[in-house]
Amino acid sequence: MSGVTLNQAIKRYGDVQVIHGVDLEIEDGEFCVFVGPSGCGKSTLLRMIAGLEETTAGKIAIGGRDVTDVDPADRGVAMVFQTYALYPHMTVEENMGFGLKMNGMPKAEVAEKVGKAAEILQLGDYMKRKPKALSGGQRQRVAIGRAITRGPDVFLFDEPLSNLDAELRVDMRVEISRLHNEIGATMIYVTHDQVEAMTLADKIVVLRAGHIEQVGSPMDLYQDPDNKFVAGFIGSPSMNFMQGVVEGGKVRLPALGDALVQAQVALPGDGAAVTVGLRPQNLKLVADDASPIVVDISERLGGVAYDYLDTPTGERIVVETKGDDVQPAGANVTLDFDPATAMFFDTTTEARLR
């Protein structure tokens, strides 16, 4: 049992509060991803769990044990840093064994555990090298190896792939995923990249300005976001948002040439402002010379294309089109979509209307 529980966790730097009473339950063996824009407090929250930041108020428990005031080394956590944080003066081997050595483990045992971790990460050939002589991907593997060697209950990853190039990032993502399956330990992973979050996570925690916006499985968040922020953050390209006005059970959208959208949710009264969200994947372009919507730019990615549309209200819309069904730039188009895929949000509170 090594789940992680946060209970009204608060972090304050002087008068500035950056984490506002976070409640969170992470199950044993779960891969949990903290995601959010920069400055949302996701790294701070992770460092509070690691014990590198003091928790101002509230409780943090790991495996049912209250660790709020326990030293980082005694929490049963291991951390992988964005900058790898390898000890530059030690070889790969020494780097990985340092934690065990500090805990007074006999040399033979340390060597055995290091060897095992090296095997998992295929680091055998580099054991005598210093970090300077390794590539970025290898360094990150050593950093992960250092975490594995300690055999922690909880792995903490602080944006571990941000310093790698795009291709390597995909490789390492797969490797981390494999590692989780193999070891089965609880992992908490911080990233600002929603693709990493979607692909790795059992559970995503979306943070904004020190508050949890929503917690759930990747597909839950994608299909059923609680508010406009989560809807816009999860999914790539981002969801399109348009201002609309309620009119007799339907929503009038000035951006789409005053089209009326049928809503299957409880709308506020007539005249109320609502925001309508449409995913680029659910939109289809239809050529229509009378329409005020114009194709601005098309990005062809091969399998799909992203069309950026200008609307009469100035709101930009992105449409994902498949195959060769492409409209030239400057063409007038209308949008075709299933009203059931539209999401409605209260314009002032940004909460989802259900």
Partner: protein, 335 residues
């Protein structure tokens, strides 16, 4: 003429002389020697650019040659000659060095220099490191650092005078104005000690002065090096379970080892040349002689230029390997 006015004129003449040199020599190069026109314009521009660096280097090379290289050669020559009465020199081979070797005062100076060499750089670096580490994270750390650094701004002679007062002794019954004796007497000492006349130990009382000065230097450099250590490696060590001492000795120290070596060797060079402190405090009496002061004694007091120059050469030979190593390490640090 008013001295200030004289100074001002000197500065103006000097600065405009420099500017004039660079301007007119470049003009000469570009307009007269290799003009950027005519049939060979491309070749002329290339040649002018090959010569130009030497125009800029020339004044520095001249000054270094005149005031550094030439004196070394001249000192070497003097160390192999002896003045004859009535003017002139005779070549005497290694006689001056032989004479050095049988002088007990020379060996005393060598022995003392060795002690200085072992103790002062070590003590300054250790204290500097300690000060840098301890003042790193506290609010009044910068104030403490400024205080520790301040002796660096005092000349060696000034420092020697200050410490002479610290070691001062007054006859029993009078008020002790020397701090050390005041404490000693207050703690029940029989009678005030004349600290600087206690052979062997007085060397250490002199070393204290240089340690006091150099600690600030070591602290400033090492403090910058400590700040340069990536914070994450320390946090990783914390998570790995290292205690503060292990973090300091196993994570921080190895990462600044290059800087420590540079600081150490730099102070070593200062120590090998130490002169003012000994000159001003004991002048080498009571077995506190050091090489530089010995050289000064021979050269300018005994007027024995041969032996004086020989001891200067000995100092240079001792300094040279450390200097080379220091430059080597400093370059490695910069990369």
């Amino acid at each position: 003429m008013h001295p200030a006015l004289q100074g001002l004129i000197t500065i103006i003449v000097g600065v405009s002389g420099c500017i004039g040199y660079f301007y007119f020599s470049n003009q000469f190069l570009d307009k007269v020697l290799f003009p950027a026109r005519g049939p060979n314009i491309g070749r002329n521009i290339n040649r002018a650019n090959l010569v130009r660096p030497w125009l800029f280097l020339f004044p520095a090379l001249l000054a270094l040659g005149l005031y550094l290289a030439y004196p070394v050669v001249e000192t070497l020559r003097l160390s192999l000659t002896e003045r004859v009465a009535g003017g002139g020199y005779t070549f005497v081979g290694l006689d001056n060095y032989k004479q050095l070797a049988i002088e007990p005062k020379f060996w005393e100076a060598v022995r003392n220099n060795l002690f200085w060499l072992l103790i002062v750089p070590a003590a300054s670096t250790v204290f500097g490191l300690l000060a840098a580490q301890l003042t790193d994270r506290i609010k009044w750390g910068n104030l403490a650092k400024s205080l520790i650094f301040m002796p660096m701004a005092i000349s060696f002679v000034g420092a020697a005078v200050i410490w002479k007062l610290v070691y001062d002794a007054r006859p029993m019954g009078q008020e002790q104005i020397g701090v050390l004796n005041a404490i000693y007497v207050a703690l029940g000492g029989d009678e005030p000690m004349t600290w600087l006349t206690i052979p062997f130990w007085n060397n250490f009382f002199l070393m204290v002065v240089l340690v006091w000065i150099q600690t600030g230097f070591a602290m400033v450099i090492l403090s910058a090096a400590l700040r340069g250590i990536p914070e994450e490696t320390i946090e990783a060590a914390i998570v790995d379970g290292a205690n503060p001492f292990q973090i300091f000795f196993k994570i921080k120290l190895p990462q600044i080892s290059g800087t420590i070596v540079v600081v150490w060797t730099t102070i070593t060079l200062v120590v090998l040349k130490v002169f003012d402190i000994v000159f001003a405090m004991t002048n080498g009496q009571w077995e506190t002689q050091v090489l530089a002061n010995y050289m000064f004694d021979k050269l300018f007091r005994a007027n024995d230029w041969g032996v004086g120059s020989a001891s200067a050469m000995v100092i240079m030979l001792l300094v040279l390997p450390i200097l080379v190593w220091n430059v080597h390490n400093a370059r490695k640090e910069m990369r």
